[in-house]
């Protein structure tokens, strides 16, 4: 926009471009001053309280016990850094299991809400309304204090067929003998990865395996077969050590903390209600004409769901679904309330109390959650770009 030479000059403070620059400079300067003041205060306050700063504590011996450790840890010799990893693996364990179970339950309830069966639909709607309108923290406390802690003690606990014991000390499962948990996890992970790879390759191949039913069966065979083969190779038949309720405690078996059970149940029940809404919204977003057209083409019910409804519903479902997954992971930090040793409980709780290094501890904890959520939203953007409708 060139001005004609004779036009009156606009005063410089009316020039939007210049004004924008001034605003931003002022904002940055104010922020800079605030940050500088905060840092100076922090340094002073820390010195006065004689709190060390820096990340030196990471390699110091922790000296406290943790009730559930997936990786090796001992109070005497392990460091705060090790305690961090213990907490992180515990968080990932409960979040990972929670995501799988909540997806299954949530999808079932979401589909049930669209059911033509009056009772099924009312029950699913009632579940969603009830669960969504009560705070998660209250639900966790309820599961832990009013359900699991109110169970009979180990002498009078429930024995579930299959050698499982449930009492107020926790859940006891039979322990397979002669097998290392990490090997089992490794073999299962390998089988799942191979199954996925096979499935993807078969879908692109030209052979008979491309057919859905056959491909699915073959994939299932791989996913189930590899662990079974591994089991046979390692010397099946499998022997179990069953938990037994003694006079003073339960011996044998795998002990699962009641805190873990309460947290998992609470997270799954809560998140499933939200996932159900996501799934429902996704399914009703596919217009009726699509299903009718599929029927007209002669596709069966399953084929319609698999090739017509699902791919279109997924486009609507996936973004909010990942949001729910992230929420579940963030919500697992409520473990503090019932004493499950997750990242926040170990790190922001115990480690912070012992070392007093609030800034470092809180920053590390936040960084972990932030990393997960940024990585997920990055992946989400890639996915969205792939499945987005080609706008014409």
């Amino acid at each position: 926009m060139a001005r004609s030479p004779g036009a009156p000059q606009v005063p410089f403070f009316r020039d939007p471009k210049l004004r924008a620059i001034i605003y931003q400079v002022v904002l940055c300067v104010v922020l800079g001053v605030l940050v500088y003041a905060a840092v100076r205060n922090a340094v002073e306050n820390l010195e006065r309280a004689k709190i060390a700063s820096g990340f030196g504590f990471w390699n110091t011996t922790a000296g406290f016990d943790i009730s559930q450790t997936l990786i090796e840890y001992s109070a005497q010799s392990s460091t705060y850094g090790r305690a961090f990893w213990v907490g992180l693996t515990n968080t990932l364990l409960v979040a990972g299991l929670g995501i799988i179970l909540a997806t299954v339950l949530g999808t079932a309830i979401g589909v049930a809400r669209l059911s033509k069966n009056f009772l099924v639909e009312r029950l699913a709607s009632g579940y969603v309304e009830m669960i969504r309108n009560v705070p998660l923290l209250l639900q966790l406390l309820f599961w832990y204090n009013a359900v699991l802690k109110a169970l009979p003690d180990f002498a009078n606990g429930f024995a579930i067929p299959g050698g499982v014991l449930l009492n107020n000390r926790g859940l006891y499962l039979p322990r397979p003998l002669g097998i290392d948990g990490w090997h089992v996890a490794g073999v299962i992970a390998l089988a799942v990865v191979l199954g996925f790879v096979f499935n993807a390759l078969a879908a692109r191949s030209a052979g008979p395996l491309r057919m859905l039913g056959l491909r699915f069966a073959a994939t299932l065979l791989i996913v189930v077969g590899i662990p079974v083969l591994a089991l046979i190779a390692m010397g099946a038949p499998l022997a179990f050590e069953y938990p037994e309720a003694g006079r003073f405690n339960v011996s044998g078996g795998v002990e699962i903390l009641p805190e873990f059970v309460a947290l998992l149940v609470g997270l799954v029940v809560y998140t499933a209600a939200f996932i159900a809404e996501v799934v429902r919204a996704g399914l009703i977003s596919v217009s009726r004409g699509q299903t009718e057209a599929a029927e007209a083409l002669g596709l069966g019910r399953f084929q319609t769901l698999r090739y017509i409804t699902m791919p279109q519903a997924m486009r609507v479902i996936i973004p909010p679904l990942t949001n729910q997954y992230l929420n579940l992971m963030k919500n697992s930090s409520l473990a503090v309330a019932i004493g499950y040793p997750d990242l926040v409980q170990i790190f922001t709780g115990t480690v912070l109390n012992i070392t007093g290094q609030a800034i470092e501890v809180v920053v590390i904890t936040m960084a972990v959650y932030l990393t997960f959520s940024l990585v997920t939203s990055f992946a989400m953007n890639l996915y969205n770009a792939r499945v987005a409708l080609a706008e014409r």
Partner: protein, 393 residues
């Protein structure tokens, strides 16, 4: 079929009346009994196919198994009066003990006011009344002078409430330390501060994120993504243990204020995304038109963009308020006695320690939270329907 077809064909001209052509409409038959009324409804909605039938039977069986014991626990076997745990313990004469409502009855005032001095509790009641007035004024879309209502809610009410609850010796109201506040009072205060603070801050952040100035856009985006990426509990820890470190020693803010800052910061980031969605739904033509009219940035926001954007976002705003209301329970972790915490404290009191106390306390708390949240979600749904109707016109 044949009868119908012949009936439709007009008789050839000149032909006489034919016996097989219907001259009067056939009598309407009643629909089959299995397809109308409650029988038809049941066939369609309960037993339409084998799977549906199985599910119906299973659900009815489960309801029969679950509902009567629940009614027993909640009402029939419940203890309605008593002064301590003895009333709620099982005795040989009374083997089945239900919910211990006597416990709730005795601790009710504590769950509402916390340790607020008994002589001053009228101030809390007055605060609740003023808040109820403000909320009704704002939520009732056809209320008179809603502009005054928002001034009242966002400006007058916060100041009056602070004076009323905290106290002002000049006005003859003794100061009540926030350490004594508790129960529903604190839950409502935290939620209200979150609600009042998050909307304006959220709008500013949303505008910032859509701004054309790179520094402002970047800072807003970082803030929003950062807060949304971490759990509220870490934000509260940050506010309660880190904030005092960053401030001069002499300031040392009160514990409740620190938690309020944490909740407000957290809620603002979520509100910003809700508002941003609303801003994005406004067609570009609206912006262009307001520029063409010569309105400045703030004028076009004030008169054109925000009224439309906020209106379509009301349901989402209310939904994020529901989430905020549930999230207030997390102040629990930084040592503040909100409603849930008072239930926890009351529950752990040996005076009322029985096997049913915990369940009773949690059921009571769940009902209270449910009533608040469900009311808000119904409101949001109603607004949504109303907006949908006005869109259709």
């Amino acid at each position: 079929m044949t009868t119908l077809d012949t009936a439709l064909v007009p008789p050839p001209a000149g032909a006489g009346r034919q016996a097989y052509v219907r001259t009067a409409p056939a009598e309407t038959l009643a629909p089959p009994r299995m397809h109308v009324g409650w029988l038809g409804w049941g066939r369609e909605h309960l037993f339409s196919n084998p799977l549906s039938t199985v599910l119906t039977i299973l659900i009815i069986a489960a309801l029969v198994l679950i509902v009567p014991p629940m009614v027993d626990f909640l009402f029939i076997d419940a203890t309605w009066s008593g002064t301590d745990r003895e009333a709620c313990l099982a005795t040989p004469a009374r083997p089945e003990v239900g919910a211990c409502w006597a416990f709730i009855h005795e601790r009710f005032a504590y769950t509402i006011y916390g340790s607020y001095p008994i002589a001053e509790r009228w101030r809390v009641d007055l605060f609740f009344a003023l808040l109820a007035l403000g909320t009704t004024w704002l939520l009732w879309l056809d209320a008179p002078r809603r502009d005054l209502g928002s001034v009242y809610f966002f400006v007058v009410l916060p100041i009056v409430s602070f004076v009323l609850l905290h106290g002002a010796p000049m006005l003859g109201l003794p100061v009540v330390d926030t350490a004594l506040w508790g129960g529903m009072l604190v839950t409502i205060v935290v939620a209200a501060v979150g609600i009042v603070a998050s909307l304006p801050i959220g709008v500013m952040l949303a505008l910032g994120r859509r701004s054309e100035m790179p520094a402002i856009r970047l800072l807003s985006t970082i803030y929003i993504e950062f807060v949304r990426g971490v759990p509220l509990i870490t934000v509260l820890f940050m506010a309660s243990v880190m904030l005092p470190l960053f401030l001069p020693e002499t300031w040392s803010p009160d514990k409740l204020i620190r938690a309020l800052v944490g909740v407000a910061l957290f809620a603002s980031a979520y509100m910003a995304e809700v508002v941003r969605a609303g801003l994005q739904s406004i067609p570009k033509g609206q912006y262009d038109a307001s520029h063409a009219l010569g309105l400045s940035y703030w004028q076009s926001l004030r008169h054109i963009i925000l009224p439309q954007a906020l209106k379509v976002t009301i349901p989402n705003i209310v939904n994020s308020y529901i989430a905020l209301f549930k999230d207030t329970t997390l102040v629990f972790f930084v040592g503040i006695f909100d409603f849930l915490k008072t239930i926890e404290v009351a529950r752990a009191d040996p005076k009322w320690s029985t096997p049913v106390t915990s369940a009773t306390g949690y059921i009571f708390a769940a009902v209270v939270y449910f009533v608040f949240c469900y009311a808000m979600s119904r409101y949001a749904a109603r607004i949504e329907r109303r907006l949908a109707v006005s869109e259709r016109r």
